[in-house]
């Protein structure tokens, strides 16, 4: 133990663990390396990922370094229901996107990004709004994961924060850059098996080392009435509601999810995403229970830092071998997410930026692969620099979250309603972001009619969240019905109440404003879009090159 109450590894031990992890992962990718990669394989593994690999990859990607720390913090802060309110809504992000994913896949069976689909539907401005939000999200995720690696290495060994950041960045890049998404999926499976095995061992080990359920039940007196209540209003409003609002936004805003929707075999999408939902929920809620156990036995987090809870509990009650397992658990989680972010960023640059906007649908596949690999190198360098300087990204996070909320309705409705125009999509997002900023930063005095206006917009936003979720699973009629009931209840209960929760109000305003503007502009539109055009416009880039090669081989006189 060191002065921080953590088990402390020597430089040699931590070096062996890191070399074993990243070296082993790199060796794994040699098994699938090809002499010549094609763009479809590099971006979506040729749309042929099976159920098992797909479910493992989706689960491992969605579990990042913050998942464990935040779930444990939620358990420690909100008590019995805390881990559920963190893990359940994160899991539902995976579940609620798959019905829409099947529609995306039906419209663009050869797609690589959601941006390509929106480009085919609306053109560049709408596509670049979506691609831009994806790029911001993945860059932030990269930075946060590299930061977590630095923090973990510096806490558990004499090595510096910067050393941990650099090792993680170089390690992830080394095994991803050659085979792209194929390497990401293949290594995700191995990383998830390790992650799940460690989870299965660590949770019961902590429980019984602390003294078992009897000691825990005796310690329940340490909980406040709110913490002991499974239906705690405090937990619902402060932890559950903000996450619930973000369910569809995070799923739409993440290329890591849409990439897997396009990569998994179409017939396996449902069971892949349902299995990933269960896997994510079980792991994250389970590890969140360590926070609840810490609260129950009266542990105080070192330096008041909640991120210390899990390493503290593992160090205090288990042999140091378990701390090494915890180290591998976190490194595996952050690496599986970071490699997916690198694949997502490279695919966006390859397909959305180079393929659609620079090469204008006539790309050179070799140049395209080069763009992808250079993107990975630049993104890793950017992630390392941002992480090393420990930049305060709170404002950027707030902005990206709102942008994702603002695009949910226009993106989804564009795939079902043939009258939605490019102008309706673009202006709805612009107006929603402007109104979000007014509400979030209280640029106007939030009293009287002004605050009532935002509460009504937020109520519409709440109705949209519930309505879209129901629409995905049960169709238009049920979606409208659920949305109308939710909207009515929100207007009745939320007006006069939401003004005390302006952060939540602002988030819901982004949904509500984009929905109102998009719907009104669409109703005035005479456009009728033929959805079959998307299939023609979103194709395989390797086929384009193959067709050209074949064309050049035909003698000139034979051409008609």
């Amino acid at each position: 133990m060191n002065e921080n109450d953590f088990a402390q590894f020597s430089v040699l031990t931590i070096a062996i663990l890191l070399i074993a992890f990243y070296g082993g992962t790199y060796l794994l990718t040699l098994l699938i390396r090809k002499k010549e990669e094609d763009t479809s394989g590099f971006m979506v593994a040729g749309h042929r990922v099976g159920f098992g690999m797909g479910a493992a990859s989706m689960t491992a990607t969605w579990i990042w370094a913050a998942s464990f720390y935040a779930a444990a913090t939620s358990g420690y802060t909100y008590g019995v229901s805390g881990p559920i309110h963190y893990g359940l809504w994160g899991a539902l992000m995976i579940l609620f996107i798959y019905p829409f994913g099947r529609r995306f896949r039906e419209l663009a069976p050869n797609g690589h990004t959601l941006g390509e689909l929106i480009h085919a539907r609306h053109g560049s401005s709408s596509q670049l709004i979506l691609a831009g939000s994806n790029i911001l999200g993945s860059t932030i995720s990269l930075m946060v994961n590299f930061t977590a690696a630095g923090a973990l290495v510096s806490v558990l060994s004499p090595l510096s924060f910067q050393t941990g950041v650099i090792v993680a960045g170089v390690g992830v890049l080394s095994y991803t850059v050659t085979s792209g998404f194929r390497a990401s999926v293949f290594t995700d499976f191995a990383q998830l098996v390790a992650l799940m095995a460690i989870t299965v061992i660590i949770i019961p080990a902590v429980l019984f080392s602390v003294g078992g359920p009897s000691v825990m039940v005796d310690g329940l007196q340490n909980l406040t009435a709110e913490q002991a209540d499974f239906f705690s209003i405090d937990a619902i409003l402060n932890q559950g509601a903000p996450f619930f609002v973000a369910v569809l936004a995070y799923a739409i805003g993440n290329q890591t999810i849409s990439q897997r929707l396009f990569a998994v075999r179409e017939k396996h999408i449902k069971r892949t995403f349902v299995t990933a939902t269960l896997g994510y929920g079980a792991i994250v809620i389970g590890l969140g229970m360590i926070g609840l156990m810490a609260l129950t036995v009266g542990i105080e987090p070192v330096n008041g830092n909640m991120n210390n809870l899990i390493p503290q509990m593992v160090s205090a009650y288990l042999p140091s071998a378990f701390v090494a397992l915890f180290f591998v658990l976190v490194i595996g989680a952050l690496s599986s997410t970071a490699d997916s972010d690198l694949s997502a960023l490279s695919t966006i640059m390859m397909a959305d930026i180079y393929g659609k906007n620079i090469a204008k649908d006539n790309p050179d596949p070799k140049k395209m692969l080069l763009v992808g690999r250079i993107t990975m190198i630049v993104a890793t360098a950017a992630g390392l620099i941002f992480a090393s300087f420990a930049l305060d990204i709170l404002v950027m996070l707030v902005f990206v979250g709102a942008l994702w909320g603002a695009i949910v309705f226009p993106v989804i409705i564009s795939c079902f309603w043939d009258r939605v125009s490019n102008a309706a999509f673009t202006w709805s997002v612009v107006v929603a972001m402007a109104l979000f900023c007014v509400a979030r930063f209280e640029l106007l005095e939030m009293t009287g009619v002004t605050v009532l206006f935002f509460e009504v917009l937020a109520s519409v936003g709440g109705a949209v969240v519930f309505g879209l979720m129901a629409f995905g699973f049960f169709g238009r009629t049920v979606g409208f019905l659920v949305g109308a009931i939710a909207g009515g209840l929100m207007l009745f209960y939320a007006t006069g109440f939401l003004r005390d929760y302006m952060v939540l109000t602002a988030s819901l305003t982004a949904y509500g404003a984009s929905t109102v503007v998009c719907t009104v502009m669409t109703l005035f539109s005479n456009e009728r879009f033929d959805f079959d055009l998307i299939k023609q416009r979103v194709g395989n880039y390797d086929d384009v090159a193959d067709e050209e090669d074949e064309t050049t081989m035909i003698p000139e006189g034979v051409r008609s």
């Binding site: 699938i32 593994a45 040729g46 042929r48 990922v49 099976g50 159920f51 098992g52 690999m53 479910a55 493992a56 689960t59 019995v80 194929r182 999926v185 293949f186 499976f189 998830l192 098996v193 799940m196 095995a197 989870t199 299965v200 949770i203 019961p204 429980l207 078992g212 359920p213 009897s214 825990m216 039940v217 329940l220 002991a228 299995t275 269960l278 896997g279 929920g281 079980a282 792991i283 809620i285 389970g286 229970m289 609840l292 156990m293």
Partner: protein, 43 residues
């Protein structure tokens, strides 16, 4: 909350994790055998 309920509330999650792990590994093994028989790549 009784000991049994508390213990079950904590241990149901690693149990579910183990179940999902078994399903995923089973599916991957099945895919690997199919890929080998048809001489194709898994990813």
């Amino acid at each position: 909350m009784s000991e049994m309920v508390y213990g079950a509330y904590i241990l149901v999650w690693p149990t579910l994790t183990l179940g999902v792990l078994a399903v995923i590994c089973g599916a991957v093994i099945k895919d690997a055998v199919q890929a080998r028989n048809s001489d194709t790549d898994m990813v």
